[in-house]
Symmetry: C2
């Protein structure tokens, strides 16, 4: 992940300026994340929070949220912009957080650079820190086949929802909802979202 | 379609009582249909409107909507419940409506009894009555494979979103969004929705 860290650190200010605000969020995504977060009954982790705009928004709604990101410049930005939220530098593949400590994990475009063979590391971490029955909401680039493409910052991957769903089930999650937005308009790339729930039986096996 | 008509006619009152009101609509479906309908710029056809609850709701929002259904008992119910909306008895496979006359078609669970080989008839009709660039919103039962099952009223079919998307593209539509809700909770059967747009070039070929 060194190159991802370096690439984002180099462009953190530009990224925060362009995408680090709720005004750049698609209305459907805002509705989905809001409706999901409002149902989470307990602490929520914004995993790969970037400049912290989702955390700030959710905190203003009364959600008990904290954020982590691999990129120190993002965490600094998030702390300044949203002083009411706790942000830390951390890797989604090795979360320095106790097991069974969250009711929800939001991973909004934060696994897009994971190589397909490595995505389970992050999903296993989410399963570990979530309570049994806890919720996970993933946002990602989608497409008809699992393939890499040149993202502005670093190589990223498109996931067909059913392929990512298989990874989630293997990590102990039940897939509850899938959403895709595939038009070239109004956003540049096909978007996917999956809402999953940690199985009640799985959590204790891996904590 | 004779048996579908007979089956629904026989149970129209029971169906209207149980499912013919907006209070039985899932909140996510309400949000999806509302957001879509609010963007439709022109007349909207509620194709297979049943007891007319969607039409009534959309008319109250100011949408210029009319409804059609194959089952006379549903149309009677709809006319009584929503006198401000025009409802007619008609078959989605042979719409008695002029070409290019609607900006949107809502087909919410109205193609669930179509045999897979016959669904194009209805989709071609939707493409015919829609203006170029017009919108189509489908609600349907979904599942990992295209298969029939015993629905309360008559045999119905589960469609994987990608299979139904292929049918839509063949009928001249571009698929814009897909949504699935696959949990057993809170609703009994996995649900799918597809939002599509009639290609600008296709409409004139088939009108």
């Amino acid at each position: 992940m060194r190159s991802i860290l370096a690439s984002y650190s180099h462009r953190a200010d530009e990224y925060a300026e362009r995408l680090g605000s709720m005004t750049s969020v698609h209305p459907s995504d805002l509705q989905l994340v809001t409706a999901w977060a409002d149902e989470v009954r307990g602490p929520l982790l914004d995993a790969g929070c970037g400049p912290g705009h989702w955390s700030g928004y959710l905190a203003r709604r009364g959600v008990h949220v904290r954020g982590i990101d691999l990129v120190p410049a993002f965490v600094e930005h998030a702390r300044t912009a949203h002083p009411q939220v706790m942000f830390d530098v951390a890797d989604v593949d090795a979360l320095p957080l106790p097991a069974n400590s969250f009711a929800g994990v939001l991973a909004w475009y934060s696994l897009i650079h994971h190589r397909p063979g490595d995505i389970r590391r992050a999903l296993d971490q989410f399963a570990r820190v979530l309570r049994p029955g806890g919720g996970l909401l993933l946002g990602f680039f989608t497409g008809p086949a699992l393939e890499e493409f040149d993202h502005a910052v670093a190589t990223a991957y498109r996931w067909p929802p059913e392929v990512l769903s298989d990874e989630l089930r293997a990590a102990g999650f039940e897939v509850i909802e899938t959403h895709t937005r595939t038009s070239a308009r109004p956003q540049p790339r096909p978007h996917g979202a999956i809402l999953a729930q940690l199985s009640h039986s799985r959590a204790n096996l891996i904590s």
